[in-house]
Symmetry: C2
Subunit: 232 residues, 2 copies
């Protein structure tokens, strides 16, 4: 329906499209209010009022309140990528790179803990376009998976040839698991999530290394076959 008209404009830079200012204004206002009041407590009327536009105008740019969440995803993904860059430049060991990138992801999300939690409620619904597994999210998801590809590419780790192509997506999946834990993490400063990362990374590291052993080849293959079967 009527969504993201800037992108359906015939040619031309979307940034200079007429409504682009309004679009950004509404988005930024929404993000601010989400942070200040939380998601549920922020009404569409409040967003519109604070942005100085009519309610219907917000719906011209964003199909629903939930669609504003996707905007949050996109922003977070970009911020994660940026925050991960120093780690990718600095570290060479697979474990250090992975831990760094995972920590960077949580770093970026930390200011939003509390209200981001409610987001993942919507994200968990399979029918929702906001699901990280959905087609609509494939853009940010691919970007995220690629980030974990870089974790691997730039590292000194030697990975089983069969495992390698699957690994970035598996690492992304592990990252989703970390986020799921983080969302439920009530420990002050989400310390437990940090412990989870620091505890799980060495295990993943060891597991990846073990995958090359001849003795474990059958298991590795069995796991990979299962994963291949389960992918859509």
């Amino acid at each position: 329906m009527t969504e993201q008209p800037a992108q359906t404009t015939t040619a031309g830079d979307p940034a200079t499209a007429r409504g682009e200012q309004t679009r950004q204004l509404i988005r930024d206002t929404a993000m601010r209010l989400f942070r200040e009041r939380g998601y549920a407590q922020t009404t569409m009327r409040a967003i519109a009022q604070e942005a100085g536009v009519a309610v219907g105008n917000a719906y011209y740019y964003f199909g629903s309140k939930d669609h504003l969440i996707q905007e949050f995803y996109a922003q977070s993904q970009v911020a994660h990528r940026a925050a991960a860059q120093p780690v990718l430049d600095r570290e060479e060991a697979f474990g250090a790179r992975l831990a760094g990138v995972l920590h960077a992801g949580i770093d970026v999300l930390t200011p939003s803990h509390g209200f981001a939690a409610t987001f993942f409620k919507t994200a968990a619904e399979p029918t929702s376009p906001l699901s990280p597994f959905s087609a609509e999210s494939s853009g940010p998801r691919q970007a995220a998976i690629e980030l974990f590809g870089e974790v691997l590419t730039g590292s000194t780790a030697k990975v089983d040839a069969e495992l390698r192509p699957q690994l970035p997506e598996l690492l992304w999946l592990a990252y989703m698991g970390v986020i799921l834990y983080w969302v439920h993490d009530r420990s002050p400063g989400q310390t437990k999530t940090r412990q989870l990362i620091d505890g799980a990374v060495p295990l993943i590291d060891r597991l990846v290394a073990l995958s090359r052993l001849r003795v474990l080849r059958p298991v590795t293959r069995q796991v990979l076959d299962l994963i291949r079967t389960l992918r859509h």
Copy 2:
């Protein structure tokens, strides 16, 4: 606030409490409409009308529309337990018992695939009392964990002594993972979920067996320490 008054009644059988009939009527009507129309498409007004009561009356027994979901959980858990009984009576091998119980769980849920999916949206929200990790759900959760305890107790499997006390909860967690996959499973008849179970159970079986090996002791301990740390 005003919830489940039958349980706050001073002594006496809740089943004979005055409003218990109405309570069940509303619950059953809601479940039927959920099945017929889906969760979002079923309005509280429709539930009330079909049950022949006022809207407010439904709220007297169930604090919110979401609370009706918890009713669905409870029913499903009981049905799962019943469906698992034959397997527990018949099978002795750990793998067969685990696979049977997991399949039984999906069997019970299958008729509700589609609308049950939207339920888990709410379940994923950490702040929601409907979260499988929440205190409010601890009853059904404990029952479910105990079911996996029986999978273990009645089996011939030899399990590492340190792992054993943690294992039922871990198996329950794996079951949650299966359900998460099932919810997103769009394959006809959710065949893929069945494949997931049949593929993952042998791996879990092997893993549990390996946990006793002296060589892997450090890893086992490392994993268990991490899990213990992460639990609340």
